[in-house]
Symmetry: C2
């Protein structure tokens, strides 16, 4: 059997309440008593039973991270930093790959409501009855739930505008946009808006495909795009997986990159995983993760948090745009 607070109390010759106070570093314990207790803890190698603590305090010190799939570089990296940052606050993170299944998300919601986790980071794409979420400690990335779910996002609009102008400055005249559209209200939609605004500004006709793409459908969408707009000389790709597929497809069609076709992707190449070096808008994933965890912890503690946090992206010129 594990050693309990009772054992410590007996060993130290004090009451269990006193031991509890020492453990929790509360004031109002005499120095001599405290010392005795500390020694007992040491001698018995006591460590607090987490479950009992949680039951009493009605908290779990666990947060859930909900991503569509963890086996995607962006989410994997996000998960890495979320876990790290959560650890600093004393939270463990439960990983849930919802895999585009609303059921899994509902399950997590249930867990939150039933206090099996203290809060959750939603980075997914399904809708939920807003009322369920209202006073749950939930935060999000990019997603604008509408309710008071705070979220972290990047400067989607500005970054996209810059990226497209970058191609224009390098001679692109027929610029397309291909994107994987989120299922729900998301800041990601700002990218399309930025694109359309630049097109309007330059009087260029838009060549736009922005639709909901199921995992695996990318190839089809890309070839549809090329069928529709076979004259593009510059394309902005929204989404990492899509950008990889697009790049490959363009090469297969024998298009010279960047001479005949320039490409910029939002969410770039992940150096660790792919060997190509696309020009891209890089999101500060680590910072996004740390911020979002910070928000969540505040929400759990009942503190006031800012509803929207915008982080700066970095433009990374690569080999898919001209010098």
């Amino acid at each position: 059997m594990e050693v309990t607070i009772k054992d410590v109390a007996r060993y130290a010759g004090v009451g269990v309440g006193t031991v509890s106070r020492v453990i929790n570093n509360e004031k109002g314990v005499g120095p001599k008593t405290r010392k005795k207790v500390l020694e007992a803890i040491e001698a018995l190698n006591y460590s607090r039973n987490n479950m009992a603590f949680c039951l009493r305090k009605n908290e779990t010190r666990i947060i859930a991270l909900l991503v569509p799939v963890i086996s995607h570089p962006f989410f994997a990296k996000l998960a890495y930093y979320v876990e790290d940052e959560a650890g600093r606050y004393g939270y463990s993170v439960i990983l849930v790959s919802s895999q585009q299944k609303a059921a899994k998300e509902t399950e997590i919601l249930r867990k939150i409501v039933h206090k099996e986790v203290d809060g959750a980071v939603f980075v997914t794409h399904h809708m939920h009855e807003e009322e369920n979420l209202r006073d749950c400690p939930i935060v999000s990335i990019d997603r604008t739930f509408g309710a008071d779910i705070p979220y972290v996002t990047t400067d989607n609009y500005d970054a996209t505008k810059n990226a497209i102008r970058y191609m224009i400055e390098r001679g692109a005249k027929k610029i397309g946009f291909i994107g994987s559209k989120p299922l729900v209200a998301s800041e990601v939609m700002e990218r399309e808006r930025a694109y359309l605004d630049v097109m309007a500004e330059y009087g260029m006709p838009p060549r736009l495909v922005n639709k909901v793409i199921q995992h695996g459908e990318e190839t089809v969408v890309v070839s549809d795009f090329f069928e529709k707009y076979d004259d593009v000389d510059g394309v902005f790709v929204s989404g990492y997986t899509l950008s990889q597929v697009f790049h490959e497809a363009a090469q297969e069609r024998g298009m010279k990159i960047p001479e005949e076709l320039q490409i910029v992707s939002y969410d770039g190449t992940f150096k660790q995983w792919s060997t190509n070096n696309m020009t891209c808008v890089e999101q500060p994933i680590e910072e996004m993760a740390r911020q979002v965890v910070g928000l969540l912890v505040k929400k759990i503690r009942g503190e006031e948090v800012s509803p929207k946090t915008v982080l700066k992206t970095k433009f990374l010129p690569g080999t898919t745009t001209k010098q």
Copy 2:
């Protein structure tokens, strides 16, 4: 306040023990009583408090997955399936990226010992005092802890032998091996053994670099390799990241692949992430994950498990070997 078992009991006009029995589907509850309780549960929308349950049963229904970094395709994919499979058994998984820090692993060990998780899957590279592990529910991948930690692995020896013969059949005469060596006893070392055996068999002098590689050091190790063995015409690369770095380096050195240099990697290209298509030995990650979770659950339940599970890899010819 949440509705508790007490509320249900009162509503149904029975004792709490009876409610508990119904919840847990125990026999020995009269059909009429059971119905009443079920109705009460329904009416009150009751759901069991997990923390109280766990405290009572002294289990958490949580398992830990310990990987060096989650932002690596192999581990990300593994995590995905581990989470999925664990869910089927009713377990949540806590993700821990030990990032090669022994401290984090020790922390998890503490959690296991103190029953904050029911068990753990170790896919990491540090040593721990074997005695700590002896009767903890721990399982592993590839790693041979020595103690009775069951593990799942692949047919490292045979697969490597095949891969190297494959290059020999295609004319390779000066075959090298470059590997990222695990810090601890691991089945991965079988790859080196297989390589050396084939070399001996064919009377070829080995060109071997197999050393512990810290994250980020790959580039240096690769250029050391080429300095030492600049005449290779076939290389077996052990490790995904290393294979990507190696491939890139070879291209940069202007070597024609596969004409002048053939490459096979253990753990191949992950199609989702990289656009190149290396010839590789593909590990059945999904199956590995499901098996390892199955083992762990059995261990947690105190059932007997087989100490070693060997899964078959798949050889995937790609563009880095000759036809």
